[in-house]
């Protein structure tokens, strides 16, 4: 998939809980979209002091038809870049690069899957659910957030699949607790063959552990701080084990953001494990 850079008109901005969902006109991105793809958006305008793009997972796409294709993403106001973004309105242009990253791998046939989203992490799982359903798969959702207002996609999920379990840290919606509290039951109940997840790193690691205990795979989309998003800067790396057993720092923007949880060395994120390929050459630096 080739990425393009374009000036995308904002078609609409919708409030969803604490988030804003942007729909922008981006035919070249929409037409190649697969769930798991993300976009990188320039923030702050021409004279901005913020020189790096912000990454957002695509929560949906409408390919070109009679109208030019559009893509959707969900923004949580966090630091100055996303604060600028949530001040934009329909009709303005956004400078967008995409589609970026590798999509979620999906089986060619039917499967049984549990999709686990933390906060806005559910965004890429909604179109993924649709692809799986179209494949004839059975899908259930586990959605969690700190509070009810930070849940995303509960309604959309419920419209698509029979079972959506919600958890919140404070009990303001669904069960009080973490997604990982209810995940084992969801896996067992649905005899899941695979788990897909997107959310904070700690959640992904825990999801991976639970999947492992159930002897099934977990495909998880990580969120590492990215300078370029296109594979040229090496800022976004994670320690990942390859099939041959060698571990490397791999770029989460082009080799991810979706990884098999089994291969990510979660405990070594933020460290430099001595057995990593090339770690022995780091004496000097």
């Amino acid at each position: 998939m080739t990425a393009v850079q374009l000036q995308a008109e904002i078609l609409s901005v919708q409030r969803v809980g604490e988030y804003l969902q942007f729909t922008v006109v981006a035919p070249e991105i929409a037409d190649g979209f697969q769930p798991g793809h993300f976009v990188a958006v320039a923030v702050g305008g021409a004279q901005s002091s913020m020189i790096l793009r912000r990454a957002f997972a695509l929560s949906g796409a409408t390919p070109s038809d009679r109208f030019a294709g559009t893509v959707q993403f969900v923004v949580a106001a966090h630091g100055p870049g996303t604060q600028w973004l949530v001040g934009r309105t329909a009709g303005e242009l956004l400078d967008i690069v995409g589609p970026l990253g590798n999509p979620f791998p999906t089986p060619s046939g039917a499967t049984r899957a549990v999709l686990v989203g933390g906060g806005y992490g559910s965004a890429p799982l909604l179109p993924l659910a649709q692809v799986l359903l179209d494949n004839g798969s059975e899908v259930e959702f586990v959605l969690g957030a700190a509070t009810a207002a930070r849940l995303f996609g509960e309604l959309a999920a419920k419209r698509m699949v029979g079972r959506v379990t919600v958890t919140t840290d404070d009990g303001s919606a669904g069960e009080k607790g973490l997604v990982t509290d209810v995940l084992p039951e969801a896996i067992e109940r649905s005899s899941a063959e695979i788990v897909y997840a997107c959310g904070p790193m700690a959640m992904l690691q825990a999801v991976g552990d639970i999947a492992g205990k159930h002897a099934i795979r977990a495909q998880v989309a990580v969120e590492e701080s990215m300078a370029c998003g296109i594979g040229v800067c090496m800022t976004c790396v994670l320690p990942v084990r390859a099939a041959d057993g060698t571990s490397r720092f791999v770029r989460s923007c082009v080799d991810g953001p979706v990884f098999d949880a089994l291969n990510v060395r979660w405990r070594d994120v933020g460290r430099l494990p001595g057995d990593l390929l090339g770690a022995d050459a780091m004496g000097g630096h």
């Binding site: 020189i51 998003g229 800067c233 790396v237 082009v254 994120v269 990593l276 630096h285």
Partner: protein, 314 residues
């Protein structure tokens, strides 16, 4: 239309806009946004003899009009680089400026030898902003003697047809002093500048934002420092070509470097914000030269220094 070709020592490039080492990998990822053979050259990420993991994350922090990075020269090692990256660049018909790095003088010599005679290699850029293991980890580029030793050794080991550019650090008391040591050791030109050492403290974790504590500051924030370094070195060595870099985002930024004395420029950090920045800068530079009635890049090189001398003597 201004003549865009430029000379870096014995090498002529079709135009003066290049990528910057570490900001374009080996060109492949940028090729989806534009044809990398359209650039003056692709400057590749500094390569070392063996594979290197690089440093622990977080490796970057955004700063006002800039960013801090601490990648730690992650890379595949020279063999894989030649087999994959350089081969790919050759296939595209792109020119490569290969940045080499090491922690011993021997590393640099080995790299220069391996790259000798390779048809895709237009030039070597010697990244001496690396800790010198032989000298308690002091950065080569901060010490005139260490710099001159590396540059001399590379110049002797390298293919005579490949110019050797010393890439200097701005974090020194007197950059002309370091440049002189490199020139005396046989440098064919200079790449100016590498990043400035900086630290960002994360006010949430109350600890440094980068895993490696300090990192290199790049981007528009450092542009005035970079232009000053180009000016000083061009003033001292008007006959040695300079590849200028540091915060170039537009054609007018590039023109500043050329007017100060650079014969070509590298577009680095700007690529992260705008993946097609190098070709856009090239087009804007060409238009800027035309608007100002400058017939060629060569006419513009160091022009601000000549204009300043005229102003003072007037």
């Amino acid at each position: 239309m201004a003549t865009m070709s430029t000379r870096l020592a014995t090498v002529t490039l079709p135009n003066p806009v290049l990528t910057a080492s570490g900001c374009a990998a080996a060109g492949r990822e940028l090729h989806q946004f534009f044809d990398v053979s359209q650039l003056g050259a692709v400057v590749t990420k500094s390569i070392m003899p063996r594979a290197r993991s690089g440093r622990a994350t977080p490796r970057m922090a955004e700063t006002p009009s800039g960013m801090l990075n601490s990648i730690g020269l992650q890379g595949p090692g020279i063999e894989s680089f030649i087999a994959n990256d350089l081969a790919w660049l050759a296939e595209q018909g792109a020119r490569a400026v290969v940045s080499i790095a090491g922690t011993h003088t021997d590393d640099y010599v080995l790299l220069a030898r391996k790259l000798a005679g390779h048809p895709a290699v237009a030039m070597l850029e010697v990244n001496i902003s690396c800790p010198n293991v032989e000298s308690r980890g002091q950065v080569f580029a901060c010490d005139a003697i260490a710099s001159s030793r590396v540059i001399g050794a590379v110049r002797r080991a390298a293919d005579p047809a490949q110019p050797v550019f010393a890439k200097l650090s701005p974090d020194v008391t007197d950059i002309v002093h370091i440049a002189r040591a490199c020139a005396d050791a046989g440098a064919d030109g200079f790449s100016l500048i590498n990043t400035l050492l900086g630290i960002v403290i994360d006010t949430d974790t109350l600890a440094p934002a980068l895993g490696g504590v300090s990192g290199g500051l790049s981007g528009p924030a450092i542009r005035p420092v970079a232009v000053r370094c180009v000016w000083q070195v061009h003033q001292a060595f008007p006959h040695l070509p300079i590849l200028g870099m540091g915060g170039i985002r537009t054609g007018l930024d590039a023109l500043q470097f050329i007017l100060a004395g650079a014969s070509a420029v590298s577009v680095g950090t700007a690529v992260f914000g705008d993946p097609s920045a190098p070709v856009r800068v090239l087009a804007e530079l060409e238009a800027a030269l035309d608007e100002r009635g400058l017939a060629s890049v060569r006419d513009a090189v160091g022009l601000a220094q000549r204009n300043q001398r005229a102003r003072v003597s007037a």
